[in-house]
């Protein structure tokens, strides 16, 4: 493989940060492979996103602002990517390890006869091999996998690379509609339950709550306030999700999401193995718990033993006042 193709997931006119992280890393990989960096941006808002992508080290920005991309789930995006990949020749295709990215990546890989690596936290081209590094078994072991196929699809965990602007040719190419396709998974409507929030997968700060919070209210009040003050997202343990206090999309752990934020704050979470595997690769872990002997104390960088209901609002206040002084 020579070329690197980056699938740009975006929300309206805003690229997801993981897409920019992947575009930045793609430059380095393409340099080692001797090829170019392609970005593919599709659907409503694509033209505006393409403009922003010009600030990143991308050679060709493939664009299709096709209404079918938003009217149907997944399949149109796979068709466009397939067309770009086949025109570019053997390539490494980077998708985000998100709900959309996993779907697009897995269908594309099956279609191209390509290998697919998942939850990749680092990439390195060495001796003509493309190495993909992923934690497996909940971070118990770190695997290095490579492709045995002409094309390869790597699903990259958000927050694995830094998004750094840089220069590239930034040539915008309008994509032709793949001919002869009909689509079946029709979008009948969208319901937004938590507007404007970055998901737990992508946030650089996650404030999570567990059984110790005793009910749904603290997730909407004290945790939300702290997360907002830090520009982060609210997460949860399995116990909290199973109790119906917060939707499953917020769950961190083995039966939820595996994340690597810069800062993870665990409030009223004991840190059972089930939870640990979802957040052990976070940059810094701070726990607040009334019990000093909880398992999370064994791997948190700081465990504060005290009353979370009192400490969290106080912490929010302190952080807000620091932010106000800096503003």
């Amino acid at each position: 493989m020579r070329e690197v193709i980056v699938f740009i997931e975006h929300t309206g006119e805003k690229p997801r940060r993981v897409a920019l992280e992947n575009a930045t890393k793609a430059r380095e990989i393409a340099g080692a492979l001797g090829g170019g960096v392609h970005a593919v941006v599709l659907g409503k808002g694509a033209a505006a996103v393409a403009e922003q992508l010009k600030a990143y080290p991308i050679d060709k920005i493939h664009l299709a602002e096709d209404p079918e991309v938003d009217a149907f789930v997944i399949d149109p995006q796979v068709d466009y990517l397939e067309a770009v990949a086949k025109a570019a020749g053997p390539s490494l295709i980077l998708v985000p390890y998100t709900m959309i990215g996993r779907d697009v990546g897995s269908r594309l890989a099956a279609r191209l006869g390509a290998g697919v690596t998942a939850d990749v936290v680092d990439l390195a081209a060495s001796d003509g091999r493309m190495n993909c590094i992923s934690p497996k078994l909940g971070g118990l072991t770190i695997t290095t996998c490579t492709f045995k196929s002409e094309y390869g699809v790597a699903a990259i965990r958000p927050n694995s690379f830094k998004a750094v602007p840089g220069s590239g040719a930034g040539e915008v190419v309008q994509l032709a509609k793949p001919p002869g396709k009909t689509y079946a998974m029709k979008v009948e409507g969208e319901v937004v339950e938590a507007a404007g929030e970055l998901g737990v997968e992508e946030s650089s700060v996650v404030v999570s709550g567990g059984r110790g919070l005793g009910g749904p209210e603290p997730f909407k009040t004290i945790l939300k306030d702290l997360a907002d003050a830090l520009g982060g997202a609210v997460g949860a343990s399995r116990a909290a999700v199973d109790a119906g206090w917060i939707p499953h999309s917020h769950q961190v752990g083995q039966t939820g999401k595996t994340i690597s934020p810069q800062l993870y704050i665990a409030v009223g979470i004991s840190g059972a193995i089930q939870h640990k595997v979802g957040m052990r690769t976070s940059g810094t872990i701070v726990a607040i718990n009334k019990d000093g002997s909880v398992p999370i104390g064994e791997f948190a960088d700081l465990l504060v033993v005290g009353d979370a209901f009192q400490i969290v609002p106080e912490l929010t206040k302190a952080i807000k006042s620091i932010a106000a002084t800096h503003a």
């Binding site: 009948e188 800062l263 005290g306």
Partner: protein, 262 residues
């Protein structure tokens, strides 16, 4: 309606697993093999759909596993599935997502289906890539991350999770649907179910039965594991008992400043 559910057998989720440094393989001793917890939601969704539709609807479990996996498959049958298909062949060993999807698709086509239900991911590999690849090999729409669905005639109406809510999506059958854990609470097998499962059929399929047009297993894998390494150690940090909220907040703020996070 013919409802098929794919399942995977995984090492027990709650066991503290370790890798043998010599063999670089998971130490299986003392770690039970169980049904992938995510797949139990798919089984439950299938059973509820069958109960709702009534008539001659059936639920068939499909898996790829060594012959020894039969007893775990029986748990799915004890929950209430009608029968199972077990793809078992030494040639399956070493299959990656591509090979697994390829073999399961062949087994599913051979069995016949209207709706295939999957869990979103497995608790061991956690790639989350199987449902999409399987839909592609089946040549049907793959509607993933579904938290609620109903079947009206030959149309599936579903809620597909997004990061901040859900999409309402409709799709015609045949189709593949993967369900999240928000969808239901899987039932425990009843004693009657457990007894009944012993008489249910687990039909074996070999790779020869599937007549695949490409190799799977290690020979057909599109990815190769080069090496395994230990994760960077994450040691015990500071534990601070605080007298009140103000001290708690101060300790955390100082710590975050030290780490340059504030």
């Amino acid at each position: 309606m013919k409802i098929l559910v794919t399942v995977k057998l995984v090492p027990d989720t709650n066991a503290d697993k370790r890798i043998d440094p010599a063999t670089k393989r998971l130490v299986r001793t003392g770690v039970e093999t169980v049904l992938n917890p995510f797949d139990e939601y798919a089984i439950e969704a299938a059973l509820q759909l069958k109960e709702k539709l009534g008539g001659d609807s059936t639920v068939t479990i499909v898996t790829m596993a060594p012959d020894t996996g039969k007893e775990v498959v029986r748990k799915a049958l004890a929950m209430g599935a009608d029968d199972a298909v077990l793809v078992s062949d030494p040639g399956c060993a070493g299959s990656d997502v591509y090979g697994t999807a390829c073999a399961l698709a062949a087994a599913i086509k051979k069995t016949g289906f209207d709706l295939v239900l999957c869990g979103t991911q497995s608790t061991d590999a956690i790639t989350g890539e199987l449902p999409g690849a399987l839909a592609e090999f089946l040549g049907v729409p793959g509607l993933t991350y579904v938290r609620k669905f109903e079947v009206e005639g030959t149309t599936v109406k579903a809620e597909r999770e997004t990061d901040n809510g859900y999409l309402k999506v409709s799709v015609g059958l045949p189709a593949l649907v993967s369900v999240t854990k928000s969808i239901n609470e899987p039932r425990y097998p009843s004693l009657k179910g457990i007894m009944g499962a012993k008489k249910k059929t687990i039909a074996p399929l070999t790779l020869a039965d599937l007549a695949l047009d490409r190799p799977i297993g290690t020979a057909g894998a599109k990815t190769e594991l080069i090496s395994l390494a230990d994760p960077p150690p994450r040691g015990k940090g500071k534990v601070v008992e605080v007298a009140d909220a103000a001290e708690g907040a101060r300790v955390i703020v100082e710590f975050l400043r030290e780490k340059k996070l504030l």
